[in-house]
């Protein structure tokens, strides 16, 4: 047996096994119950195809196929980024579809940033600034209608609001300003990067698949 025959047998065997593995991953992309299972299987198929291309480059002794494999790796990475940009909301007040709306406290203004998962209400006119003190009836009407304070009702420069110690307008923004603490609005909003939880300990409800 010559060296070339041995190499050919090795490469052909590897290619056949990779082809079988790619077919098996295609099955996962069909039956995977969630979108992320399918994205994962496509990503893995891409990785295995990169291996196939570089094996072919040695089998056929063509050096340029490695460049093809490099470009394919870049394309498969960019495809996952595009999937992610489609499904991950990019707003400052973003949060998962976990039903966390139920846990809003009354007067909690942290979630007043625009949330794509909340249905939009008709806000009506907002009485802010100087008009806010002159028209408390409008603020009360807004509060009765929507169940929360108007977003632009509080401004930190206003002396009267700063000295206002009534509890019904109590929110962290003015409290923080009264105490002289700068409140980082962005940090309180839920962003996705801190949200993976403490572990993957549970088995799904149907048992193992």
């Amino acid at each position: 047996m010559s060296i070339e025959t041995a190499y050919n047998i090795l490469y052909m065997g590897s290619l056949i096994i990779f082809a079988i593995l790619i077919g098996v991953m295609l099955v996962r992309s069909v039956i995977g119950p969630r979108i992320t299972d399918r994205i994962l299987s496509v990503n893995m198929i891409g990785t295995m195809i990169i291996c196939c291309i570089v094996i072919l480059s040695r089998y056929l002794d063509e050096g340029y196929l490695v460049d093809v494999a490099l470009i394919y790796a870049m394309i498969s990475f960019v495809s996952v980024l595009i999937y992610a940009s489609t499904y991950i909301p990019a707003r400052p007040g973003r949060r998962p579809l976990d039903g966390r709306k139920k846990t809003r406290r009354k007067g909690d203004r942290r979630n007043d940033a625009y949330d794509p998962y909340e249905e939009s209400e008709e806000p009506g006119p907002v009485y802010a600034g100087r008009e806010a003190e002159e028209a408390p009836w409008a603020r009360e009407a807004w509060r009765r209608q929507t169940g929360r304070m108007p977003a632009a009702a509080v401004s930190p420069e206003k002396e009267s609001i700063r000295n206002d110690s009534s509890n019904e307008f109590g929110n962290d923004f003015t409290d923080g300003i009264k105490k002289g603490v700068k409140k980082d609005f962005k940090k309180d909003n839920r962003s996705g990067s801190a949200g993976f939880g403490s572990g993957f300990t549970k088995v799904p409800k149907g048992g193992r698949q």
Partner: protein, 118 residues
Amino acid sequence: MTGTPMEWIRFVLTAVFMIVGLCSFICAVLGVFHFGYIMNRLHAAGIGDTMGLMSVLVALMISAGFGMDLFKLIAVAAFMWCTSPVSTHFMGQIEYFTNPDLSSYLKLRRRRGDTEET
């Protein structure tokens, strides 16, 4: 048998690394089918992206010898090692943002805006 002993040693090394890579990919695929949730599957798929790909590329680097192909294969390996964890992280984020039933699978940390009704 034709070929010098050096060439046969090179072939044996190539074959060893190739078989290790194939076994890693088989383990990754088996893991993806064994686990029931996407987060565990991501962990299993990482085996293929790192160990499997690296072993196969090292096998081909040994087979190619010292030349232009060697550096191109090193470039492929470096690129995939840098971008594969990013892809995995994004897939985890997609799952986090699109699954309404996340609390039944994961133990989520309590956040500042939550009350005990969660």
